[in-house]
Symmetry: C2
Subunit: 415 residues, 2 copies
């Protein structure tokens, strides 16, 4: 069986994802779609709007065959590390092609640009450092350096978020010499950052859908941008757990956490760099909400997402040492299976023997610093819930086996 | 001017406290009443029902002239340490008498018993150890050891909570050779632990008053047990801050805290002894409320209050090292003034020069590990509040000067 890999967050799974998924299977003529998905917290540092289990269900009902978790240590990261972690996991699972959405839409530009940057790495790095020292954020410095170095060449626009991610996917494939064919589809939705739902399309950005869900506390306006399975699952989640997760929900815990840490401790947290600990301590005393806190915190030097990731690392008490230890390894530490269809199960049965890292179906005796971090992230994720929902959600981390979906009868199988 | 010292928590200030206060001034013929009061968290490990500022106001309106804070490091402690801290502060402030309420009511028994235990300390300690090794809690072992050693003698009943505290006040005075005359009045209320409001008296236990306040979320049933000033202040507090504090309010933060700490870190927390860290980690995963958690935690070996104090130390991340450093000093580290009447102010002006430790009226440049701990306790204390009340209460720690009360015009003076 041939498998195509997808790097996803499904926050939540919407029509654009469905389009992407169908294209992936069709374009690459694959039998199986494997998605590597961020868990409780996402690449931009936000909590997922619903749990990884709910998002896994949405994916399986919509045609994904296997969902594995991208560990926290790779997920809540800048594009480069995120891409490396995700693509390595897909490679480990035997995906021979990778399909990603991008603003650009032509794979040639990605391979050319990746090759070009690898060749001129030294020059580029120097230019990036120079730009950063002039006060630019990392992504802005990267885009600028790129412009300067590759002047005249027809290169990818690296100021677009999905181009950046795709670029790093392709670069990982080349660097690691993975036997994996990258493909891209042009994103049909409006801009990634668009915060308003469109009027004339059935595809909207996940950002605008989340915004509508969290502000309206209802599916009313966003239903038409979601497959029915997603809408149902979102409703079910709110019914059981009483909320959809938003960064504001975590503010009391962030505040408590910051009160309890002195600047020394704080400076050991991952992504707390260059005296940010003082800025953070100062901001938290004045802020009455997460938004106020972020407004007090932000500078030209750091992007919003960079600071949001830092906050999540503060919440989960993830230190520089923790991350260094996990990222130091060459391979992904394990494959944590969140869910599969019958076809996915058959595919896995076939691949099982050739895996070079453990496939985890349930947290039992297996222990690893990265897995402990995932569990901790899950515990933080459930913190804003009321009881007994809080305990229920936290315990799913230990008790839930991978979700099995029978795509023929369209039912979930329960052990 | 002659000053009588009182060791108080005023949680909240009720008719029994008023009686005690009047007796104190009358019996000792003092001009001034000085109260040393626990701050955000109390001897039994609970959060105070309202802030130290609100409780200071109640005290001043009811006839106390000076309120100083008993630092957290002494307040959230077993009777012995609590007593030592409190009495040392009163001595420092020049109180020549100390009046405390007790179940026994006759000071002779306290001095006799204190002298007896000091003489037979070695034998008693051995007996206490023996009883503890047989599975008794510290207070129970103490009472039992006492019975065994002092057989036949007419001694104080050390199974009563206020007798225990009084015993330690008297012992401190003797040990430290303070020039301070201890006096006791028999408590007029029913038992300290009584959880029901009485029908035929205007004096009820603070426990029963708190229970009624927190359960009914109203002053309805407890108003007749409180001076008007207390009732008004309680109402005002709920109006401004939206709640009266109860241990349950802190459960989400306790849970989050425990999730974030591994057993190693946990074992460094003060009062986490003898493998309690494992018991705690196990209990927190199952508990849906503070009460459930405590039920899972409790054993014959530890009293409820001992465990409650431990939880508060977990919440405030107070380590064994923190406490050792603070308690290592001989004198109270500072005197933090919370409030005073005009008469209290005159008294302090007179005493100021002879103080051997700093008198703190506002948190500015003064820094001390114990004060930092008090500030941290204040931050934890405000954690369950909504915004902007949370920020408001936390900032009172820095911004509020001591409360000044004009006892003649019955008004608070604001700078």
């Amino acid at each position: 069986m041939k498998a195509v890999g997808l790097v996803v967050e499904y926050n939540p799974f919407h029509n654009g994802h469905l389009y992407h998924l169908k294209e992936a299977k069709a374009q690459t003529e694959s039998d199986v779609a494997v998605a590597v998905m961020s868990g409780s917290f996402l690449q931009r540092g936000e909590p997922a709007i619903v749990s990884k289990w709910a998002r896994t269900k949405m994916a399986l009902m919509s045609g994904v065959d296997i969902v594995v978790e991208l560990p926290y240590a790779f997920a809540v990261q800048k594009a480069e590390t995120f891409a490396k972690g995700a693509v390595s996991i897909l490679n480990e699972l035997g995906c021979r092609s990778l399909l990603f959405g991008s603003e650009h839409g032509d794979i040639q530009a990605f391979t050319t640009t990746a090759a070009y940057t690898m060749k001129h790495e030294e020059t580029l790095n120097q230019e990036v450092k120079k730009q950063i020292s002039m006060g630019l954020s990392y992504p802005a410095a990267m885009a600028k350096a790129f412009q300067a170095v590759a002047e005249g060449e027809r290169m990818l626009d690296l100021s677009k978020p999905n181009n950046i991610l795709g670029f790093h996917y392709v670069k990982t494939i080349i660097c690691e010499r993975f036997q994996m064919e990258p493909e891209t589809v042009k994103r049909r939705s409006s801009d990634y950052h668009d915060s308003f739902l469109p009027k004339t399309s059935q595809i909207a950005s996940a950002t605008s859908i989340r915004k509508s869900l969290l502000e309206k506390e209802s599916l009313r306006d966003s239903r038409c941008f979601l497959p029915e399975a997603s809408a149902d699952e979102l409703n079910e989640y709110a019914r059981i757990f009483g909320l959809w997760h938003s960064p504001e929900d975590y503010f009391p815990f962030l505040k408590y956490s910051l009160y309890m840490m002195d600047t020394d401790e704080l400076s050991q947290i991952y992504e707390v760099e260059e005296g940010l600990e003082h800025r953070v301590k100062k901001a938290i005393r004045k802020a009455g909400s997460f938004l106020e806190y972020m407004e007090l915190l932000k500078t030209k030097r750091y992007t919003w997402t960079r600071l949001q990731r830092m906050n999540t690392h503060i919440l989960t008490k993830t230190t520089k040492v923790d991350i260094r230890r996990i990222l130091g390894e060459r391979r992904p530490p394990y494959l944590r299976l969140l869910g599969m269809t019958k076809k996915g199960q058959a595919y896995l049965a076939d691949k099982k023997k050739s895996l070079s890292v453990p496939l985890i179906t349930k947290i039992g005796s297996f222990s690893h610093p990265s897995l402990r971090l995932d569990i901790k992230a899950g515990q933080v994720y459930s913190a804003p819930l009321k009881e007994p929902e809080q305990t229920m959600l936290t315990e799913q981390e230990y008790s839930l086996s991978p979700i099995r979906y029978d795509e023929d009868s369209r039912t979930f199988l329960r052990k």
